[in-house]
């Protein structure tokens, strides 16, 4: 169980290898990686800046992870979320869950990202080719996705 909020990039391969290394109770590992897209709702982006609330962010991510561990039999889990300015193609977030069983790994992984999206204090500022910044509005579909787990 680990949570990291960082400016720098991460290596998904190394992270997921470390997550299950030497643990022969793991039958399934589900991973989600979120990346910066070049197009957002038909606008071309040159970059995105992620602001966050240091302290509360880590606290919320740890709580989300603890909640996942309560709900599913997890052998390991990981949340990494970057902040600062990121360009299209860059990694933003990684969530992973490892369990003896595949359904638990999938459900927990999806829960982690769904809850993160509605609970963790991050805000995205999209920057278009002219350098104009627009704060991304929260999507109802994210609330609905998080609602799946109530």
């Amino acid at each position: 169980m680990a949570v990291r909020v960082q400016r720098e990039d991460f290596d998904p391969g190394a992270e997921i290898a470390a997550l299950t290394a030497g643990n022969t109770a793991v039958g399934g590992l589900a991973v989600f990686v979120g990346l910066v897209r070049e197009m957002a709702e038909n606008r071309q982006l040159s970059a995105m800046t992620l602001e966050h609330y240091p302290g509360m962010t880590e606290k919320m991510l740890e709580r989300i992870e603890a909640e996942a561990k309560e709900r599913w039999p997890l052998e390991a889990s990981l949340i990494i979320h970057r902040h600062g300015r990121l360009e299209p193609g860059e990694r933003i977030v990684l969530v992973a869950a490892a369990s003896p069983h595949r359904d638990a790994a999938f459900d927990a992984c999806r829960f982690l990202i769904d809850w993160l999206k509605t609970q963790a204090p991050f805000w995205k500022l999209e920057e278009d080719s002219k350098g104009t910044g627009t704060w991304v509005e929260a999507r109802e579909s994210d609330e609905e996705a998080a609602g799946r787990w109530q």
Binding site: Y53, I113, Q119, P121, F122, W123, E137, D142
Partner: protein
């Protein structure tokens, strides 16, 4: 009380962080927002639509009726959009 502003709330108020002394009649979140809105044009604009504002008291999500007091860390921000 320590106040923190994030995303467009920071831009509209022009403030990242400030220390304020609460008037005695401000005892809950909704009263805090009302009081802040009266502190100037930037604040009034930032706080115009309460539906788009989330509040955390001591790093916990709080509702309109939740209590606030001097010494608290209170953060104001829009609905989150990470991930």
């Amino acid at each position: 009380m320590r106040l923190l502003y994030f995303a467009w709330l920071k831009q509209k108020t022009g403030v990242t962080e400030e220390e304020v002394e609460l008037p005695g009649e401000v005892t809950k979140v909704s009263e805090l927002l009302d009081w802040l809105a009266g502190r100037g044009e930037g604040y009034a604009e930032a706080l115009a639509n309460r539906k788009t504002i989330r509040v955390a008291v001591n790093q916990e999500y709080a509702r309109a009726d939740d209590p606030v007091k001097d010494g608290d860390e209170v953060a104001l921000f829009p609905p989150v959009t990470g991930g």
